[in-house]
Symmetry: C2
Subunit: 267 residues, 2 copies
C-alpha cells in the first residue's frame, strides 16, 4: 500500500470487512491505481477505526458522510459506494464513454446495491443495533424468503441483462469490455455463494452467463493477484454476507437423492 502522500485516493472503510467497500477496492485493484485503504494501516500510522471517525463526526470539511465507505480525492469527500464507483470508473477507463452506457451501468450498480442490502437484512431483519442471536427467528423467516424468491429474481434479472447484451456476446453487463459493474457482480456472486452455498448451488445451472462472468473476473491477472494477497479480507460472520447454515436452504434434493440411491441396495 502506498503512503498517504503518494496517492490522490484515500478510501475510508471498516478495516476488517469486505462489505460495501469491496467493490471499490476491486475497482482500484483492476485499474492498478494506488490507493490508501486508510483504516487498514496500523493505528500508530494513522490507521484503524479511529481514521474513519473524524469525518463521521463532522470534524472534517466537505460533505458529511452518513456511513462508510467514503473516499477522499482532490479535496472532495464522496460517500455512498455506487456514487464513488460512478465517480472513479470513467477516470480509470472502467465504464464506456457514452451517456447511455453510464446510465445503464449505474442503474445496474444500484440494483446490485439493493440486492446487497437484502442479503444483509437476512441476518439483521429487525435492527442493525441488535446481535444476530437476538433476531435469529426472524432471520430464518427472512432468509427463507430471500433464497426462495428474491435471490432467484435478482440473479435471473442479471442473467437476462447478460443475455440481452448481444454486443458483448453475453460476456459483459454493459458495453463490450469489462466495466466496474462486472467487478461488482463478481463480488455479489462470491458473497452469495459464501453465505448461501446450497441455495446458490441450486440456482447455478440457471445462471450460466453470470457464473462464467464471475470466473473470468476472478482470473484477470490483477484481480487474481489481489484475491491471493493479504489485501483481500476473508468473508466472515461479522460482514455483509454471512454464512449461517440455519439461514441457507437444505442441500438440493437431487444430491441427497443420488447419495441415497447409491447406498440403498437394489431390490
Amino acid at each position: 500500500m502506498p503512503r498517504r502522500d503518494e496517492t490522490r485516493y484515500v478510501l475510508y472503510y471498516w478495516p476488517s470487512l469486505q462489505g460495501r467497500g469491496e467493490p471499490i477496492r476491486l475497482l482500484f485493484e483492476e485499474a492498478g491505481v494506488p490507493y490508501v485503504d486508510i483504516a487498514r494501516l496500523p493505528e500508530d500510522e494513522g490507521g484503524g477505526v479511529a481514521a474513519i471517525e473524524p469525518a463521521l463526526a463532522g470534524e472534517t470539511t466537505g460533505l458529511l458522510p452518513f456511513a462508510p465507505p467514503f473516499l477522499e480525492v482532490d479535496g472532495l469527500l464522496i460517500a455512498q459506494a455506487a456514487n464513488i464507483l460512478q465517480f472513479l470508473a470513467p477516470r480509470f477507463g472502467l465504464v464506456p464513454d457514452d451517456e447511455p452506457s453510464r446510465v445503464a451501468a449505474h442503474q445496474i450498480q444500484l440494483t446490485l446495491a439493493d440486492l446487497m442490502s437484502e442479503a444483509h437484512d437476512t441476518h439483521h431483519p429487525i435492527s442493525v443495533n441488535l446481535y444476530y442471536e437476538d433476531q435469529k427467528e426472524e432471520a430464518k423467516r427472512r432468509a427463507a424468503s430471500f433464497t426462495a424468491e428474491r435471490m432467484p429474481k435478482f440473479l435471473g434479472y442479471f442473467e437476462d441483462l447478460l443475455r440481452r447484451n448481444r454486443r458483448s456476446k453475453g460476456r459483459h453487463l454493459v458495453g463490450t469490455k469489462l466495466s466496474y459493474v462486472d467487478l461488482s457482480m463478481f463480488q455479489v456472486l462470491s458473497g452469495l455463494a459464501y453465505a448461501f452455498p446450497n441455495a446458490f448451488a441450486r440456482l447455478e445451472p440457471e445462471i450460466p452467463l453470470l457464473v462464467a462472468l464471475r470466473d473470468r473476473v476472478a482470473a484477470r491477472p490483477r484481480i487474481a493477484a489481489y484475491l491471493a494477497s493479504e489485501r483481500r479480507l476473508p468473508f466472515h460472520e461479522g460482514g455483509l454476507f454471512r454464512h449461517y447454515p440455519e439461514l441457507d436452504e437444505k442441500p438440493a434434493a437431487g444430491k441427497t437423492g443420488a447419495r441415497r440411491r447409491k447406498t440403498s441396495p437394489k431390490r
Copy 2:
C-alpha cells in the same frame, strides 16, 4: 396530462402509489415540464398496470428495468429513481452545474433512498411477498427500532447537512438554490410524518431546518398547485409509507403528562 406524443418524457410507475415514483413526479412538477404518467391514463388509452408490464417482461428494447419507476426519454429506458433524478435534474436546472455539487446531491439522494427502504421494511421486515398481517409481530419490533434509532439518526444527519451548508443559510441541502434533493427531502419528511405521526412529532423540535425546508417546498407555487390537484395521490396503507398506529410510538410523554397535571387537583 399531455398526450404521449406531446412530450419526450414518459414515466412508468404504479398508478395508485406515491412510493419511489413520487420524487420524480415532484421534479417534473417543480420544473413545469410536461410528462406522461402513463399507468395513470385510462386503460383504453394505453394506461393502467398493463402499460408497465411489457418493459418488465423484457418485451421492449433498451435496458431491462428490475422494477418501476422507469423513464422513457429520447429512446432510452432508465430505471432506479436516484438514477432518473440524476439524469433529469441538470436538464431542468434543478441541481448546480459543478461536479462536486452533483456528486453531493446524488450522495444525499442515495441516503434518502436508504431511509425510504428502511421505512418500507418497517411494515415488510420479512418478505415483500407476504401481507403485512403475516409479518405484523416482526413489523412491531422493526418499527420500534426504526422510530427509536434509525429515524432520529437519519433525520439528525440531514439536519446537520442543512446546518453545515452555510452558503445557503441552512435553506438548501446542496448549493444556494432549490435542487431535486430538497424536493425528495420534502417527500420523505411528509411520508414519515404520515406514517409515524407521534415519533415525528417527538423529533420535530430537533430538526427545525428540515421542517422549515419542508414547509418552503410545500409553499412553492407549482408544488402547492400539484399537492392540491388530483395528480397528487394520497398516502395510504398500500404504499411505501404506511400509517399503522401499532407501529408508531405512543404520544409523547410530555403531552400526556401535561394533560394529567391539568386534570389532577393540586395537593
